[in-house]
């Protein structure tokens, strides 16, 4: 227990919160400071970080590095679908004889970008409403929460399909749809954390001191709610990636001929029933999404262990 120190005099403001240490101690010692201990990745966390950095790099620079444009034919003289990997197309070609590797490189930015923007939006709306409901008192809280419950009980994919069909699919629409749908879950988390903090002694003290509501939210609640919320961000990002790529898979997300990983899987499903076809056009994009999300998951595991394993329980 001796290295569980919060002794700020001892040096560089360095204090540890050890993962899985009992929560009471953690709260006792760090009453009005956010648990801002230095955080180290484990081996699996590093593997995750490397995979995710790789995909982010491809996402940003993919279109410049790709050997072909996403809709170009690598072998215009020799048109045949589902060609096996060979020189000039390392992952083979797809149903329309386009280069699979180039399409994956073009699709990376779209898949990651849309999901990331959607998650940020979900967080912004969810946190504002959730902490708002926690602060505003029982009546507002009850009304907003019941509406929220109703939305949560609808299958996300169905809700997404209805919205996207109603407004027409485009990248901004996908971002807003994902943001609004996943807002409901962020709201629930932010509200629960906000409620927990609202009954803490230091908030009572601030109220008694006569601090305004804005001061309490920004100076007391937010610093304490930020850490658990940020640790949940990665998990939510995974679900949004799965959501967006499922929509694309169903033909309601990113529209052809643009490349997107989910869409690529759907476009090339025919490879399973074509004799002698290369299976890579289906396997490669599916594997791309799987490695990306599992990579994020490995980092999330580390972060939530760091946050005291509280989050994994809350899920």
């Amino acid at each position: 227990m001796s290295d569980f120190t919060t002794d700020k005099k001892a040096g560089h403001g360095e204090h540890y919160v050890r993962p899985f240490e009992s929560e009471e101690i953690a709260f006792e010692e760090l009453q009005d400071a956010a648990p801002s201990a230095r955080f180290k990745l484990s081996v699996s966390g590093w593997i995750g970080a490397i995979i995710v950095s790789f995909w982010v790099f491809i996402g940003v620079f993919g279109p410049f590095l790709a050997p072909y444009h996403e809709n170009d034919l690598p072998f215009p003289d020799d048109y045949s679908e589902y060609q096996a990997p060979k020189e000039g197309a390392f992952l083979g070609t797809d149903v329309e004889d386009r280069d699979v590797m180039s399409r994956i490189m073009y699709g990376a930015g779209r898949t990651i970008g849309i999901a990331f923007a959607g998650t940020v939006l979900a967080y912004f709306l969810g946190v504002v409403l959730g902490i708002g409901a926690a602060v505003a008192g029982p009546w507002v809280d009850m009304i907003v929460s019941r509406i929220n419950d109703a939305f949560i009980s609808l299958p996300t994919i169905m809700l997404g399909l209805v919205v996207v069909t109603a407004v027409g699919s485009s990248i901004p629409v996908l971002i807003v749809t994902a943001g609004l749908i996943y807002m409901t879950i962020v709201y629930r988390l932010a509200r629960a954390i906000g409620m927990e903090i609202m009954v803490m002694d230091y908030v009572e003290a601030a109220k008694v001191r006569g601090e305004g509501i804005w001061w309490i939210v920004t100076k007391e609640i937010w610093p304490n709610a930020a850490m658990p919320l940020i640790s949940d961000f990665g998990l939510r990002l995974i679900y949004v990636i799965l959501f967006i790529s499922s929509l694309s898979f169903l033909g309601m997300g990113v529209q052809p001929p643009q490349a997107d990983w989910g869409l690529m899987v759907r476009e090339n499903l025919g490879a399973f029933q074509t004799y002698g076809a290369s299976l890579l056009p289906v396997v490669a994009p599916a594997l791309a999404i799987a490695t990306l999300t599992v990579g994020i998951n490995l980092i999330v595991d580390d972060i939530s262990a760091h946050a005291g394993g509280k989050l994994t329980k809350a899920m």
């Binding site: 419950d149 299958p155 169905m158 809700l159 069909t165 989910g262 396997v283 599916a286 595991d301």
Partner: protein, 322 residues
């Protein structure tokens, strides 16, 4: 306890009501209206107006909602906009294949994953437990169509390479009438295998976590100190108190099996309820969308209600709230 259950029932009814409002309003959003879709674009205004009056679409929204809701409660789902067939009729066979796949998946997947999860909790931190945890955590994070691809690669292509024949068809089509249980499992082998993996990853994780969570409580410590064997502690003492969260995650997964499997249905090209709803959305057949949406929601609410009641009944602390 009875008052608690009544309270849960009331909350369920309120949720269904709220959802029905949301679905009704959301579907009003879909572009085009029933008369236009039925009659096509060449119809005259007068024709459209006549049909609108016949369908009751000229009345205020609140009246339309009341009509729809009362009809729905009486089991009359209305007529599909695409044709004159009544929706209950056309849902029939779709419903059958969805229910078949869900029931078979649940019957195979849930006992298996409960067993695996309890085994993992019995031997925590062993190699078995670590592999199982890693696989189930990874499977939660991958898209359904990745798991499906994996199943196809294993049971169709790898199987073909090793044994010289394909274990299952990639495309699930054909008449399923007069099939026995085993024939049905064979027919839907790939969707069932995929869905088993999807739900198993969640149920295993939750079972393990719930049992281990109870294992740290004082009364278990007491049992350990008394010298009760570990197997008996888990099966007799821990499992009963872990039932709440386990039933909850099972209910969530059952709801997913009914409403969330659209990707799997499209992947293996069989027609279930979820695909039907997607088609309805694409054809702007909002009456169909409303009906199936309500069916999904009612399934979800009923399953959650059962889970709630099961955890109240199984846990004395919830039975007598302070």
């Amino acid at each position: 306890m009875l008052s608690l259950i009544v309270q849960r029932l009331l909350i369920g009814v309120v949720t269904v009501f709220a959802v029905s409002l949301i679905i009704f309003i959301c579907t009003q959003w879909l572009p085009g209206d029933a008369a236009e879709i039925r009659l096509g674009q060449s119809a005259t205004e007068a024709n459209k107006a006549a049909l609108r009056a016949e369908l009751g679409l000229d009345k205020p929204l609140a009246v339309q909602y009341m009509n729809w809701a009362t009809n729905f409660l009486q089991g009359d789902l209305g007529k599909s906009l695409a044709g004159d067939r009544s929706i209950s009729e056309s849902i029939g066979d779709r419903y059958q294949s969805t229910v078949t796949v869900s029931v078979l998946t649940a019957a195979i997947g849930i006992p298996l994953s409960l067993f695996l999860g309890i085994m993992a909790a019995m031997f925590p931190s062993t190699l078995y437990d670590r592999i199982l945890t890693f696989v189930s955590v990874s499977l939660v994070a991958v898209p359904d169509f990745f798991t499906a691809t994996l199943m196809v690669l294993i049971f169709v292509f790898a199987w073909d390479a090793v044994f010289g024949f394909q274990l299952a068809n990639v495309v699930v089509i054909g008449n399923t009438q007069d099939m026995g249980v085993f024939e049905l499992v064979g027919h839907y082998a790939l969707p069932i295998a995929t869905l088993c993996f999807v739900i198993a990853s969640q149920v295993i994780r939750m079972t393990r976590a719930a049992v281990l969570n109870v294992m740290s409580s004082p009364y278990i410590e007491m049992a350990i100190l008394k010298g009760v064997p570990r197997k008996r502690i888990i099966l007799r003492h821990a499992l009963l108190n872990a039932i709440g969260p386990i039933v909850n995650v099972i209910a969530l997964n059952l709801a997913y099996l009914v409403s969330g499997v659209v990707v799997i249905e499209v992947y293996f090209a069989y027609n279930g309820l979820a695909t039907f709803m997607v088609q309805g959305v694409q054809q702007r057949d909002f009456i169909l969308v409303q009906s199936i949406g309500m069916l999904f929601c009612a399934t979800y609410v009923i399953l959650m209600l059962i889970a709630d009641i099961a955890s109240i009944v199984s846990n004395p602390r919830l039975r007598h709230p302070k």
